[in-house]
Symmetry: C2
Subunit: 176 residues, 2 copies
DNA sequence: TGACGATCGTTGTCAAGGTCAACAATATGC
DNA sequence: GCATATTGTTGACCTTGACAACGATCGTCA
């Protein structure tokens, strides 16, 4: 039931019916059937890039997560594994900066990956504060599987959008 | 300090230096100066649309939030206000479905907006379960200000990307 | 008419992310 | 040597998202 009206100036009772009939002419005329649902206007949202970027992000991440859930690798974990694998001995601050995530968040991501035996935090000989991040052998193996699955996901994306449209998106978004 | 090694198979001490010198030849040769920082490869991430969508989303939302923080309107709140304002008498389930958010989350969003006196949950005369959502007069006023600020944000986006590139993005992302 | 299943708004809980402040250890610059 | 900056870490808080459950109401169909 719609019981919680919160503290508000709404006065239910006699006024409510009148207010509703003024406010909802469309629905009153259409018998409120589910099958005829009138189109809902997005109005100003149609001009906002951020709105569509968010929807796209939800779709893409959802498909990515579904595709890699068999090996239990999230998008964030995947990005950590890829960049660590391609740049041996990276420090955590460098990795966090290139991925655009907080150092504090990276610490927890790495904890999990290290517990699973995928990454190592070796002490840096040049700088006692740093860790030199490397993938373990199992880490490299898992990364290879992850890349294969991820490219399958990307292929699916290509089919959904069309190859040239996907490429245009990649180029346009690279500037952020 | 890099003290927490967690439970791991890492053995610090004699092995560490050797492992590091194998692993970090670049940094050893370059005297570890900040000014010469070597480029960090994104590797496979360069082919992943999701990675760039996420970065774009962070940038765009950040700019949007900064632009509207003066009137305390988040992106989610903005989308609720816009669609409610354009579709009088909408039910919460319909609104949640069109915005792609959970009914449960919308309840809390509306609570906040109703506490601020911006939206009303009128009882629906046709269906006792539903609420007919409407903007209050202050809600409409605030929405107008919000739209003005949001279009300023969008203009800034246009300058950053170039107008035609922004339009291409809008079209390409609309399919999600 | 009455019973049954579906829907609506709501609440609670849990996990994942982002943000921020603080800290000890270490490095750098003067 | 000393002040300052950086690194990794921890803790706290807040926002989202996801999911289950619930009472109230609707629709349907026997």
């Amino acid at each position: 039931m719609a019981k919680a009206i919160i503290k508000s100036s709404l006065k239910p009772g006699s006024r409510s019916k009148m207010a509703d009939s003024r406010v909802l002419p469309r629905r009153n005329l259409q018998t409120a059937r589910r099958s005829v649902r009138p189109p809902i206007a997005l109005d100003a949202l149609n001009d906002h890039l951020g709105y569509f970027i968010r929807r796209a992000q939800i779709w893409v991440f959802g498909d990515f997560i579904r595709t890699l859930k068999g090996i239990d690798v999230s998008p964030a974990q995947y990005s950590v594994l890829v960049v660590t694998g391609a740049n041996n001995g990276l420090s955590q601050a460098e990795l966090a900066a290139t991925l655009g995530i907080e150092r504090a968040r990276l610490v927890r991501l790495l904890n999990r990956l290290q517990e699973r035996g995928l990454v190592q935090r070796l002490p840096s000989s040049a700088d006692g504060r740093r860790h030199a991040l490397t993938l373990t052998a199992p880490g490299r193996t898992l990364l290879a599987r992850a890349k294969a699955l991820a490219s399958r996901h990307e292929k699916r994306l290509s089919e959904k959008l069309g190859g040239e449209r996907r490429k245009a998106l990649l180029d346009a978004l690279r500037d952020f």
